[in-house]
C-alpha cells in the first residue's frame, strides 16, 4: 500500500457527495450504568453531553432514551477481507452512547463503506465532509469485506469497531457524575452487525448467536437510506437481547440457587421486576419499516414470549419467597 500523497482539492464548490455506500458496519455494547440509583432525566442528559455545544437528543416515551452527540474517529487502515482481495479504508467512524431509562448504557460504533472517489488518499477535510463514511481504495468484493469484518478477531486486524464502542462505554462509565457501584452484577453484551446496501434492496435480517458468550452477529440488507433505521434496529435488538440474557442467565438462576441455600433472593428479583421488566418495549412504534423488521424477527425468535416466560418465573420465585421466607438473611 503506497503511502499517501494527497490529491489536492483544487476546484472549490464542487461538492462530491461521492458514491453511495455499499456496506455498513457496526458494533453495539450493552451494560448497566455503574450507578446505584436510577439516573434522572437531567442526569442522563448531563452524562450524555460528551461534546460541549452539540445537542443531546432525548425522547421520553415509551421509554426514556437519551443519546449523546456522535463522536468522530479518523481511520486509515487495511480492511480484513475474507477469501481474496485487498482494501484500504480511509475516513471517519461515528460512535455514540445511549442511556435508556437511566439504567442501561449502550455504546455504538457505526460506519458506511463506499468506493473511493480518488485513487489516492485525499486531504483530511474531504473525509470530514462525509462523517461516518470510509472510502475504500482497491476493489475487494463487498461480500468478502463483510465476511472479513464479521469474523475478525480480537484485537481487530481490520477496522476496530470493537475498540471504538468500548472506548465510548469507558468514557461514560468513568464519569465523575456516577458513583461506580451497581445494584446487580451483570455482563456486557456485544452485537456485531453488517449490512449490504443496494438501492432497491428490501430490509432483511439474519441473526446468529456466536459461540463466544454474550456475542451476537447480525447480517442485514437494505437500501442506503435505511442505514439509520438499521443502526437503531441493532441497538434495540442488543438492548432486548441483553434484558433477556440478564433475566434468564443471571437473575433467575441466582434466585434459584439462593432459595436452595435458604438465602434471600428478593433484592435482585425486585430489581428485575421494577427496573428491567419495564424496559421491554419493542421499537415497533418507530415506523412501518421498523415494525415489519421487528415483527419478522419476533416470528422467528419469539423473544417477547421468552421474556414473558422469564418474567412469570421471577414472579413465581418472588411469591415462593413470600410464602416460605428464607431462614438466612
Amino acid at each position: 500500500m503506497s503511502r499517501a500523497t494527497t490529491d489536492r482539492d483544487a476546484s472549490p464548490a464542487v461538492r462530491p457527495d461521492g458514491a453511495p455506500a455499499v456496506l455498513g458496519f457496526g458494533e453495539v455494547r450493552t451494560c448497566l450504568i455503574q450507578n446505584l440509583g436510577t439516573l434522572s432525566a437531567s442526569a442522563s442528559v448531563a452524562l450524555m453531553q460528551l461534546t460541549p455545544g452539540s445537542p443531546v437528543s432525548k425522547v421520553d416515551r415509551p421509554v426514556r432514551r437519551v443519546v449523546s452527540p456522535e463522536q468522530v474517529t479518523g481511520v486509515d487502515c487495511r480492511l480484513q477481507v475474507a477469501r481474496e482481495g485487498r482494501g484500504r479504508a480511509i475516513g471517519t467512524v461515528l460512535s455514540h452512547a445511549v442511556v435508556t431509562n437511566g439504567r442501561i448504557l449502550q455504546g455504538t460504533a457505526h460506519v458506511a463503506l463506499s468506493p473511493a472517489s480518488s485513487t489516492e488518499r485525499r486531504e483530511w477535510r474531504h473525509y470530514l465532509r462525509r462523517q461516518g463514511v470510509v472510502e475504500v481504495l482497491g476493489s475487494p468484493k463487498p461480500h468478502n469485506v463483510l465476511d472479513g469484518y464479521l469474523t475478525d478477531v480480537t484485537p481487530a486486524r481490520g477496522l476496530d469497531m470493537a475498540s471504538i464502542s468500548d472506548r465510548i462505554i469507558d468514557e461514560v462509565q468513568l464519569s465523575s457524575r456516577l458513583d461506580h457501584t451497581t445494584a446487580l452484577k451483570a455482563g456486557t453484551a456485544m452485537v456485531r452487525w453488517a449490512v449490504t446496501l443496494a438501492p432497491d434492496s428490501r430490509p432483511t435480517v439474519g441473526i446468529a448467536k456466536s459461540d463466544l458468550p454474550n456475542f451476537h452477529v447480525i447480517r442485514l440488507s437494505g437500501a442506503p437510506d435505511d442505514l439509520p433505521m438499521l443502526v437503531r434496529f441493532c441497538e434495540e435488538f442488543a438492548l432486548h437481547e441483553w434484558l433477556l440474557t440478564t433475566v434468564q442467565d443471571v437473575i433467575v438462576p441466582r434466585a434459584e440457587t439462593d432459595i436452595a441455600r435458604d438465602r434471600d433472593p428478593l433484592d435482585s428479583l425486585l430489581f428485575a421486576l421494577n427496573e428491567l421488566v419495564p424496559l421491554w418495549m419493542p421499537p415497533t412504534h418507530l415506523g412501518p419499516d421498523m415494525k415489519a423488521l421487528w415483527e419478522a424477527m419476533e416470528s422467528r425468535t419469539h423473544y417477547t414470549r421468552l421474556f414473558e416466560r422469564q418474567v412469570a418465573r421471577i414472579r413465581d420465585l418472588r411469591d415462593q419467597v413470600k410464602i416460605r421466607p428464607p431462614r438466612r438473611f
Binding site: 461538492r15 452539540s54 421520553d60 479518523g74 483530511w124 465532509r129 484485537p155 481487530a156
Partner: protein
C-alpha cells in the same frame, strides 16, 4: 372500520440552527495586548496606519464586485486573555474604546466592532454576563477537532488530541536519549508535496485545574466567529452587543461582552470573506488556526445554511467547501519610515 394514521413525535433539541447576519467582508484591522495601550495611542496608530491602505484596497475590490452597498465591517481584537507581562495598570474598556475610535478617525476610517480575546475562550453575550448567557467557545471548538488518521490507524487507539496537541502529520517516534536512538525518524506531514512542513500545535496547557487555551486555538475561535460558523447547541453565540446611548461600559474587561459594536449602522460582524491585517508575529498562530479549522467537523446544517445564503445574494456568491478558504491575511512588515517633518 378504516385504518387510522396516527403520528406521535417528540421534539428534541436537535432541530433548529440559528442563522447569523453575514456581510460581504470583515476586516480585522489590528490586534493588541492590553499593555500596548500603556503609552496611549502610539502602537495602535502605527498598526492602523499600516492597515489603512490595505483596508481601502480590500473595500474597493469588494465594492467592485458587489456594488456600492456591499456590506463591509471592520473589527479590532484586544488581548485580555494572556496574563499581563508587566505591572502596568490595565486601561479600562472605555479608555480603550476612546483610544481606538480616535486613532481610527485619525487614520481615516472607522472601527465597527471591538472584540476581546477572553471572549473567544468563553462567549459573553452581554455586559455583566452570568453563566446563563455564556458559552464555552474554546471547549466547543476543541471538541470539534477530529485528528487526521495516520496510515494504519484502525480505531484501536484513542486520539491524541485529548492530550492538548494537534499536528498536521505523523510525529517522529519519541526519542528519550540520543544515544539510545541512533535511528532517528523524521516526522512527516500528511499529504506533503515532496517535503514536509510538520507543525505540532499546543491547544491548551493545564494550569492546576483550569485549561489555559493557546493563542492558536483562540485565533481559530476568533476566525470562526467572523465566518459565522460557531453555534452552541444550534444557538448563535457572541452576538455583537451595542451599548445604548445612556449605557456606560463596565469597568472590568471580564464584564464586557465578547464583541462590542461601536457604531450603530455597522455592517454585520460576520462575513462571507474575512481578512486580517496583522503584524508579523501573529503569523505562526494564524497558520496554526488554519490547521485547526481544517481539522474541525462542522455541523453540515450550518455550512449549508451559509452556502445557501451566499447563493441567494443579489450577486450570488459561491463559497469554497473549506471554511478556511474564506480567510485571507496580510502580515505587514516592520520597516519603519522616519518622517522628517
Amino acid at each position: 372500520m378504516t385504518a387510522v394514521d396516527v403520528s406521535y413525535q417528540e421534539m428534541t433539541q436537535t432541530a433548529k440552527v440559528d442563522a447569523v447576519p453575514l456581510g460581504h467582508l470583515s476586516v480585522e484591522t489590528g490586534h493588541l495586548y492590553l499593555e500596548d495601550f500603556a503609552d496611549a495611542d502610539r502602537k495602535i496608530v502605527r498598526q492602523l496606519e499600516q492597515a489603512a491602505p490595505w483596508l481601502e484596497a480590500a473595500g474597493k475590490r469588494i465594492r467592485k464586485r458587489f456594488g456600492r452597498n456591499a456590506r463591509i465591517s471592520t473589527c479590532f481584537l484586544v488581548d485580555d486573555y494572556a496574563p499581563p507581562r508587566s505591572n502596568v495598570e490595565q486601561p479600562k474598556p472605555s479608555d480603550v474604546v476612546d483610544i481606538v475610535t480616535a486613532a481610527a478617525e485619525q487614520t481615516g476610517f472607522r472601527i465597527d466592532y471591538l472584540a476581546r480575546e477572553a471572549g473567544c475562550a468563553i462567549a459573553y453575550e452581554r455586559p455583566y454576563s452570568g453563566p446563563r448567557d455564556q458559552s464555552p467557545l474554546a471547549d466547543i471548538v476543541a471538541g470539534l477537532i477530529v485528528e487526521e488518521a495516520a496510515v494504519g490507524a484502525n480505531g484501536s487507539r484513542p486520539p491524541t488530541a485529548q492530550t492538548g496537541w494537534l499536528s498536521n502529520g505523523e510525529r517522529s517516534p519519541a526519542v528519550s536519549v540520543a544515544m539510545d536512538a541512533p535511528d532517528w525518524e523524521a516526522p512527516e506531514e500528511f499529504g506533503k508535496y515532496r517535503h514536509s512542513v510538520f507543525v505540532d500545535i499546543e491547544l491548551w496547557s493545564q494550569d492546576s485545574s483550569e485549561r489555559q487555551y493557546s493563542c492558536s486555538l483562540l485565533s481559530s475561535v476568533w476566525q470562526l466567529l467572523r465566518l459565522g460558523l460557531l453555534r452552541n447547541a444550534g444557538q448563535a453565540v457572541a452576538k455583537p452587543y451595542l451599548f445604548g446611548p445612556g449605557e456606560a461600559l463596565p469597568d472590568l474587561w471580564q464584564q464586557l461582552p465578547s464583541i462590542t459594536q461601536l457604531s450603530s449602522d455597522a455592517a454585520p460582524f460576520a462575513a462571507y470573506e474575512v481578512f486580517s491585517i496583522l503584524p508579523q508575529y501573529y503569523e505562526a498562530a494564524e497558520h496554526a488556526a488554519r490547521i485547526i479549522i481544517d481539522h474541525l467537523r462542522f455541523d453540515p446544517a450550518v455550512l449549508k445554511q451559509t452556502a445557501d445564503r451566499a447563493h441567494d445574494e443579489t450577486n450570488p456568491i459561491t463559497l469554497p467547501d473549506n471554511p478556511a478558504g474564506r480567510v485571507s491575511h496580510l502580515f505587514f512588515d516592520d520597516v519603519h519610515v522616519t518622517r522628517n517633518d
